[in-house]
Amino acid sequence: MSKTDLIEKYFSNSLSPKEQMRFNELLQSDEKFKKDFTIQKDLQKVIARNQHNDLKKTLQDFEKDRPVLNLFNISKKWLVAASILILVGLGFVFLKSSFYPSPEKLFVENYEPYRNIVLPIERGENANTIEQSAFIAYENKNYHKAINLFNSVPKTNTTYILFYKSMCYLSLNKTNEAITLLKKITYSDYEANSEENFNELANWYLALAYLNIGETEKASDQFSIIVNDDRDVYKKEDSRKILKYLN
């Protein structure tokens, strides 16, 4: 067996007793053998040390990563108390959410884009005007396209155009843009020649829009306007219900 093989066997722990004796002898008598072995033994130590340091670092990282709140150090009594508190708290939150829906939820439950009453479109009818194309897009819930087309009609500032544009924005959840338009409509005068009173509609949708962005106070004011109207205005009953949740 060669000297190299002997050293190799040493490192894989497989020297026989006889080989071990020869190994020891060589270590005593053969300077080159000794040198050759020592450097390998040193290398072993160096690698082990590197591994050791890497591992120590890994463990220290484990330690750093530990959650700050250490449940094992808190007595059971406190854990039980805390759990009960959490349960009770959750109960309240649950109760509140089932009886008092959030403003956003109220919006979702009540919002529906107003139907197209301006240019009723027959199935399969082709668009002859930009306005018609806009309403086709609107009915197909293609709100981006509808907004673009509404912006291109000859009389973009007509109340009903503004109103349907605001419907598009609300449907796209661009609530602030919708609010700007709806405000304009609620401030504008009653349009005598319009079949539908867009003021009335705008009041309702503006109230809903405030709900959607969590402006409950403004929403309340807006719903109050509807409820306090002497006339039988659009969504008066629904507004009354929502007001109850808000106050």
Binding site: F11, S14, I39, L43, V46, I47, E63, R66
Partner: protein
């Protein structure tokens, strides 16, 4: 069942699975600190000792001294920990404690002092140049010198066509190291 679990864990750890190591670390950490308190060891020291105990366990698994756990992992950790705690007290108080290995109580044979001493000059140089070797070299040398695999086993692990190829690759790695060191001496 218990035995099968620890066998799995050993295999996982040997394959370098960090999650398995972390599991062991987290599972035994708090009892270990509690246990150290009985020996008047402060938390900072207890953690340090605990980490060393984990490392020793790990190294004994890697170098094949532990192939399957006859006792629970925690028993090993506490045995090593106890030994380290006594070492700490001895170093601090210089009172000569009876130096029997406490570990023998548990009938566990472990190598607990793999690398205590300072590095010699040659070791410092090896340390410096080992990190400059290519990954292939590092891997071969690590498998052979640290994890204790035979050349036959490494041939298989690293997919060499035969042992001779591996052998000459390994001696090239060693020669590289020796050449670098020679320049410094």
């Amino acid at each position: 069942m218990e035995e099968e679990n620890s066998k799995n864990i050993i295999d996982l750890i040997k394959s370098g699975d960090k999650a398995a190591l972390r599991k062991i670390y987290d599972e035994n950490r708090n009892i270990f600190i509690k246990f150290s308190r009985k020996y008047n060891v402060e938390k900072v020291d207890a953690l340090d000792i605990y980490q060393d105990a984990i490392i020793i366990l790990y190294e004994n698994i890697v170098n094949g001294k532990i192939t399957d756990l006859s006792s629970k992992i925690s028993t090993y950790l506490f045995a090593i920990g106890k030994y380290k705690i006594f070492q700490l007290h001895r170093d601090n108080s210089k009172v000569e404690l009876q130096n029997e290995l406490i570990i023998e109580e548990e009938n566990i044979y472990l190598d607990v002092n793999l690398h205590g001493d300072e590095l010699t000059n040659q070791q410092e140089l090896l340390n410096k140049y080992f990190s400059q070797l290519g990954n292939r070299c590092k891997e071969i040398l690590k498998l052979f010198y640290y994890e204790g695999y035979t050349l036959d086993e490494i041939t298989e692990i690293l997919n060499y066509s035969d042992k001779k190829v591996l052998k000459s690759q390994k001696s090239r790695c060693m020669r590289q190291l020796k050449d670098w060191i020679k320049k410094e001496l």
